[in-house]
């Protein structure tokens, strides 16, 4: 479903992504971890082209996302994204945050879009907050709204960029639980996170990134019990 072929990216002289090749299957949950500055966020931001790559290819559902013929808006509708800082729209209600893209990008009628939104809010457990403004919610609730907003476009893949890093400790679990539910429902997910408990529980594969490369990738079993790379061992020692 997602094919990544030897991608490279530079910020000026800085070589952020140094040749990543991977294959991610439909329904797979992939967790990416690694020290900060290793390129994990940049990597997943390339998958919906919030960042451009300078070399290599990313193919999502058979479409080369960097090709000029690809309709990038349509592609992004199929690849939902959840950010570390939630990035909800502060000037409109929770409900409108969720219905905006379906109504404007997909031209879904308002009634139907709202019905979908209420269903999603129910799913993430905060349907009673629909008419509040984002700043009236707690961080955990805001992030759940952001997940609902991402799901409203019925994406085939969801990208999570450190979704719990900006949350107070007591709110992390409510977000992780929503994500676990999603994983069980079979949505393809790529998650950048430091939550190793989450990785162990729901990941099909874990990638360890450093220096702009995927140094090691495998099942949680393999990753936690039998890491091959020195860097991975060191990282796991630090974090566990």
């Amino acid at each position: 479903m997602i094919k990544i072929e030897n991608i490279h990216k530079w910020y000026g002289d800085f070589h952020v992504l140094q040749g990543i090749s991977e294959h991610i299957n439909s329904g797979e949950v992939v967790v990416i971890c690694g020290p900060s500055g290793s390129g994990k966020s940049t990597f997943i931001r390339c998958i919906n082209r919030l960042e451009d790559i300078q070399q290599g290819k990313i193919i999502v559902e058979g479409k080369d996302i960097n090709s000029p013929e690809t309709d990038i808006n349509q592609l992004r509708a199929e690849v939902g994204m959840v950010f570390q800082q939630f990035n909800l729209y502060p000037h409109i209600t929770v409900l409108k945050n969720i219905t905006l893209a379906p109504m404007k990008a997909k031209k879904i009628p308002k009634k139907e879009a709202e019905k979908i939104a209420y269903e999603l809010l129910e799913r993430v457990g905060i349907h009673e907050q629909a008419h509040k403004y984002p700043a009236e919610l707690s961080g955990g609730q805001q992030q759940r709204v952001a997940i609902a907003r991402g799901l409203a476009m019925r994406p085939k893949v969801m990208l999570f960029d450190e979704p719990t890093s900006a949350l107070d400790p007591e709110m992390i679990n409510e977000v992780l639980n929503v994500m676990k539910d999603l994983a069980r429902e079979g949505i393809t997910m790529i998650v950048v996170t430091h939550e190793m408990g989450f990785a162990r529980e729901v990941a099909d594969r874990i990638f360890f990134m450093d220096y702009g490369k995927i140094l090691e990738g495998g099942t949680p079993e393999h990753f936690f019990k039998n890491p091959q790379h020195e860097r991975t061992k060191l990282f796991l020692k630090e974090i566990l």
Binding site: L50, R76, N87, L88, L100, A105
Partner: protein, 246 residues
């Protein structure tokens, strides 16, 4: 002191020779300012957005326009339109229209900068989130960025309006019957009360401009939505009440 001069001519200061003749005085000043700011608003949005374009051939004309206007006095701009338009189009343009165009073109450049700053003040994540859900650039701008940017722009925008209201007095120079000109006319005719007349005029300008800044302050408060870092006035009052009660 000859305050009766002011008293006798008050209606003339406020409305010119209206309703028997064309509108003048304060009425015309306000109309010029309103018309100018209205046109400048749209000019400003257009050039502000162009200024932010990634394409140099869109951005460049906007930069040139903004910098030229910001680097030249408004009075000169009025002269340009006044003296150049008849040369180019072989027929003169009415003075009021000349000044209105000069005001719009002049203020438009400043509004363009306000628009640019307003848009740039919105965190990058807003655009990313909007584009990330599949909205195109135009939709993201229209539904996510602009509504927030416009709110942030209100104080600067009202400032610009206040400036323009005062600058309408420059239309005096090409004979437009606005407030300042009506004052000089009355002064030339009566000769005995310049201090009273120009003091009155100053007070009138002040009342209008002060009223505007106050309105802007009120609007700012009313339109501010709850954001994580910023509290609404009401919440602050509630907080105070609570802490006093406890």
């Amino acid at each position: 002191m000859h305050w009766e001069v002011v008293q006798k001519n008050m209606v003339y200061f406020l409305l010119g020779s209206y309703p028997h003749g064309p509108l003048g005085g304060l009425g015309l000043s306000v109309l010029l300012a309103l018309g100018g700011i209205f046109l400048a608003f749209w000019i400003g949005i257009l050039f502000g957005l162009m200024r932010l374009s990634k394409r140099w051939y869109v951005r460049f004309p906007s930069i040139i326009y903004i910098e030229i206007i910001r680097g030249t006095p408004l009075l000169l701009l009025i002269f340009w339109f006044y003296f150049l338009v008849p040369v180019i189009f072989k027929k003169p343009m009415p003075e009021i229209r000349t000044t209105l165009i000069a005001f719009s073109v002049f203020t438009g450049a400043y509004v363009a900068e306000i628009v640019r700053a307003g848009i740039q003040s919105i965190p990058k994540g807003q655009m990313e989130a909007a584009r990330g859900t599949g909205l195109n650039y135009r939709q993201a701008m229209a539904y996510v960025i602009m509504p927030q940017a416009l709110r942030n722009m209100i104080p600067s925008f009202v400032n610009q309006f206040v400036s323009l209201t005062k600058d309408t007095s420059l239309a005096y120079i090409i004979g437009v019957q606005e407030l300042t000109r009506t004052a000089t006319q009355v002064n030339n005719r009566t000769m005995n009360a310049p201090a009273e007349i120009f003091f009155t005029i100053a007070v009138i300008y002040f009342i209008i401009c002060f009223g505007l800044t106050q309105t802007s302050r009120y609007l700012e408060k009313r339109l501010s939505y709850k954001t994580s870092g910023r509290m609404r006035q009401r919440d602050i009052v509630e907080l105070k009440d609570n802490s006093e009660a406890s």
